[in-house]
Each structure stands twice: as C-alpha cells, then as structure tokens.
Amino acid sequence: MPDLGPLWLTMKLAAVTTVILLLIGTPLAVWLAFTRSRAKPVIEAVTALPLVLPPTVLGFYLLVTLGPASPLGAFWVRVTGESLTFSFSGLVVASVIYSLPFAVQPLQNAFETVGPGPVEAAATLRAGPLDAFFSVLSPLCKRGYLTAAVLAFAHTIGEFGVVLMVGGNIPGETRVISIAIYEHVETLSYREAHVLSLVLLVFCFAVLLVVFAVNRRGGSRVG
C-alpha cells in the first residue's frame, strides 16, 4: 500500500486554496462584472495570465518573488520565522495565483448574467450594498459559486509545474499527489503510481459528475 500522505496534503491544499479564492475572487469578479472603468481589460488580462503562461514560468517568478531574498519573502521570514518557498504556505500562495482565473471567470460570468437589475431593485428596497450582495446577488449566483469552487479545487489538485518550482518535494509539507506520482514513476514504482493515479481519477470524475448532475437538475445554468 503506498503512502496516502500526499493525497491528504493535496486535499488540504486544494481546500484552503478554494476558500481563499472564493473570498478574494468575489470582490474581484463583482468589480469586473459591473465596472465601467477603462482599466477593466488590463485587470482581466492579468487575471487570465495563469491560463496561458507555462506553469514553469509562473513558478519561476513566484520562486523569485517569494524567496527569502525578495522583500516579500524576507518580510514573511521576519513575521513567521519560516520561508515562503518550499513550504505549505508558499504552496497556498502559488496555488491561489495559479488557479485564480478558474474561480474569477465563472463568478464574473454569473454576475454578468444576473446583471445589475436585481441589485438595483434591492437598493430601492432599502438594502445596502453588502445586504444586497448577500441576500440577492450571491443566492442568484449559487451555480456560479459551485462552478468556481469545483474548478478552483480541481485545478489546484492537478497542478504540478508550479508546485515543483516553488514547493519542491518535501513529504508532509509540499509533496502533493502529482509530485508523488511523478516520483513513483521516476523510481519505477508503477504499482504505487497506479494506485495514486486511480484514486485521483476516480475522485475527479466523481466531483465533476456531481457538478453536472446538480447543474442539470437546476435547469438553467449560470456560470
């Protein structure tokens, strides 16, 4: 039986990343959906960069930015006593950036589909902006949130290049499932590679199946 540690670490990383992404992705997506600012295309392009950049390029820049020699990395070391690179925290930062478009785009689509109408109506019914967001906009964008969460989660599970660059291969800290599988193959432990791969395959399929089933039951799809 192979070590299942990498599997749990992967789940933990994906879960933490997803929560953070939904939190910072929401205001960003709301802004992108409703702004008339001329800066919108710039921000949209920056948000979409991780979609097209090779993970190694992204990983390289992150390594440089997060490393103890950089201002950010040095600050982190001063505050927490540990390095951002080759640590779980560093992996979270990298994953959040890497998976950003997968959370922001479905949310932005959902907000744009719903449009400003319901929020305006809520404002004329005495609901302030936050109230209107929580009581009207977000419930109307439920499906967008589901899509965003699933895509962000799944995409984080699947990441390899960025992790390798930023996190390396430290058991229990940065050795996620994709790295573990790669190592098993490198050392010709095909049996272990098979088990981990199959677990990942079944899990990902199950998640997507649930999402599509839920979306179908809902009739209309948003996001």
Binding site: E120, A123, R126, A127, G128, D131, L140
Partner: protein
C-alpha cells in the same frame, strides 16, 4: 423657504451618454400622481433612475422636502437605499430565488421603522396578493408580477413612489386588469407618485399633473387635463382628441332604463349604467365634437344631457369651418367643437349663457368602457 402645503421635489440635473443627453429642471409638487410623459427615448426612465439614485453619472441638484439627495458640486449623493423611494421597474424585477411572500417580506423587513403585521395584510389585500403568496415568481403572469412589484415597493413605506412604465410590457386586457389597482394606490396609501408613461390613455386616467419631455428636456408641465388639451402639444401627445376630462359623482342608478346618473358641477349627467357604488367619483371624458351648443334650453331633443354654463372663450380656426368654444359649467370646463357659421349665427361670445348638449359621455376608466362611448 416658501410656504407649501405639500412637500416638493426640486430637480435640476444633467447626464450625458454617447448619443443622448438629458438636461432636466422641474419642481414636482409631491401630492397625487404626476405623469412624466413623452415619446420613447425622451429620457423619462433615465430621469426616474436619477431620482432613485441609480445613475452614477448624474450631475446637478435634487432636493426632496428640504433633504438634499444630490449635490454634485459638493460631491454629495445619497445612495439609493437611503432615499426612501419606492421604485416599480418596467420589468418588475422580482427576486427569482424567493417566492412572492419572501419578495414582499424582503421589503417589509427593511422598512424605515419597525413595520407591523397589519401593514403587510393591508398591502396584500389592496393588491389582491393573497392567492399569489406561495407562488414562485417565475409562475406569475405579467400583470401579477407588477402587482407584486408594486406591493413590494409599498411595503418599504416609501415617501415617493416611482413607477417606470409598469404597464409597458402588457397587452390591453392585462392593462385593464392592473390599472384599477394603480388608480386606487394614491387614495389608499397617500404616497405621492411619479408615473412614467408614453400612453395618453394611462396619463389621462391616472395623473393629476403631468410633465412633458422630449429629447431630455421639459417641454411643458401643468395639470394633466390642461396639458392633454393643449393644441400646441398635439405633436407629442398625439391623437388625443380634443375634449374635456371631468370628475363627477355617482348619484343614482336607474335599473329600468339601465342608466346611471352622475353629478358634475351640481348638474346631472346620464350615462349607461355602470356598476359603481353611489358616491364614487368617476372621471369622464366628453369629446368636443360630441358637444353642441344652444342659447336657449332646448326642448324635444333626444339628447338627455343638457348642461348650463357660461361661454368663456371662442377660438375660431382660420381657413376652416370650425371653432372651439369653452363652457364653464360652474367650476368644470366643457369644450365644444362647432362651426364658425354657428358662432356667427348665434352670436356666441364670452360671457354668454349657453346650454351644452352632450351627446356622448365616455368613461375614462377603460376597464369599464369596453363598449366605447355611448350615445344618449
């Protein structure tokens, strides 16, 4: 500050879009229903959105009952949710994730001060919403949707109700269904309203005053009846046939002859029987071409409605056969379209006592006038 019985809403505002600019200035008296009238694209909805605080780009100054809502020079704009305005959108904008009751409660819970249950019941009853309460919003008809939207707006206890063509998306039958509710609103809840419309029928029926807009500017304003009658505005108000709109009180029903007697300026008018309680005030429309004039009370004519009054004005239309005469029946004005020859033969001039023979009276309440104007 001048002394005013009713609060006012004074508006001076500008906004520009790529192919449209609005430059609006008017002081609304905040009682009854004021219609904001004009052709599509005149900027009526934009103005309403500015009043509600839904347009970020609006400049100028808006003051409601001494409270500044917008002062772009001071960089001040009260956000929409703090203006205390109820808004009924053209497309209702009910929340689809909530059922009808929850939509209404959404507004009720956020009302200015702690609302009581009685108010909720009152609104539900006034708009006949009881049978709809448990329904999904997507399963409502257009008319039902607007009724819920109006109820929702009322439950916020607005100080001003803004209605943006709430009937625009409906066919004639649906309009007839919902108009009576809107008609009763002001009387029952006493909330001043600004009603956007490009339909003369709706304006004539609902509005006390009206503001006419074209291309983002005010063209005319005043009492709805007077504005609708103004010949110089006919290009905008369209084929609103010259006539008079009068308010009369239901006095008596005659079941044998199927007639209802109403009173106008102390004088009776007979009209085909309508199912309304005695004492109700109805708004009637008498077209100028259905009124003939006599200088003595005529006898042996089939016309039953003869209203006595004084001529106030005679306008002869040059190069035509016609003239328009205005008769003051003791407070209310009638209008008659007669020939210039009649003016000359009868010696009609202001001050003369005349008898107006009214051939036909029609209800301005479309729902009750399906048979059209009735001739007596």
């Amino acid at each position: 500050m001048s002394v005013n019985l009713a609060p006012t809403l004074s508006v001076t505002t500008r906004i520009g879009f790529r192919n449209f600019s609005l430059d609006f200035s008017h002081v609304f008296r905040m009682t009854g229903v004021t219609a904001l009238f004009g052709p599509s694209g005149a900027g009526k909805s934009t103005l309403l959105r500015i009043l509600a605080g839904l347009e970020d780009g609006a400049a100028g100054r808006i003051e409601f009952d001494g409270e500044v809502w917008l002062d772009s020079e001071a960089g001040r704009s009260v956000p929409a949710h703090r203006r205390g305005v109820g808004y009924v959108f053209q497309d209702a904008r009910l929340f689809t994730h909530l059922d009808v009751r929850q939509n209404l409660l959404f507004a009720h819970r956020r009302a200015n001060d702690s609302g009581n249950g009685a108010e909720f019941t009152e609104v539900v009853e006034a708009l006949d919403l009881e049978p709809l309460l448990e329904r999904e919003t997507e399963r409502l008809s257009g008319g039902e949707r607007q009724r819920v939207a109006i109820g929702r707006a009322l439950l916020t206890r607005p100080r001003l109700l803004l209605l943006d063509e709430p009937l625009a998306a409906m066919d004639a039958a649906r309009k007839g269904e919902i108009l009576p509710y809107i008609e009763r609103l002001h009387g029952e809840f006493g909330i001043p309203a600004i009603y956007v419309s490009h339909s003369v029928d709706e304006v004539a029926r609902l509005a006390d005053r009206m503001v006419v807009m074209t291309a983002g500017r005010v063209v005319a304003s005043g009492a709805a009846v007077e504005i609708l009658e103004r010949p110089d505005l006919q290009d905008i108000t369209g084929h609103f046939e010259a006539g008079a709109i009068i308010d009369a009180t239901v006095i008596h029903h005659d079941c044998d002859f199927r007639l209802t007697r109403v009173e106008f300026c102390g004088q009776p008018i007979l009209m085909p029987m309508v199912d309304l309680p005695i004492g109700d005030v109805v708004r009637l429309r008498i077209r100028a071409r259905d009124v003939a004039l006599a200088t003595r009370r005529p006898e042996s004519v089939s016309v039953r409605n003869v209203i006595e009054g004084a001529l106030t004005k005679v306008i002869e239309e040059k190069d035509t056969a016609f003239a328009e005469a205005f008769v003051d029946a003791g407070g209310g004005l009638l209008r008659a379209r007669i020939s210039r020859k009649a003016v000359a033969d009868l010696g009609l001039k202001p001050g003369l006592r005349v008898f107006a023979l009214v051939k036909s009276v029609s209800f301005d309440r479309r729902a009750l006038s399906r048979k059209g104007p009735a001739t007596l």
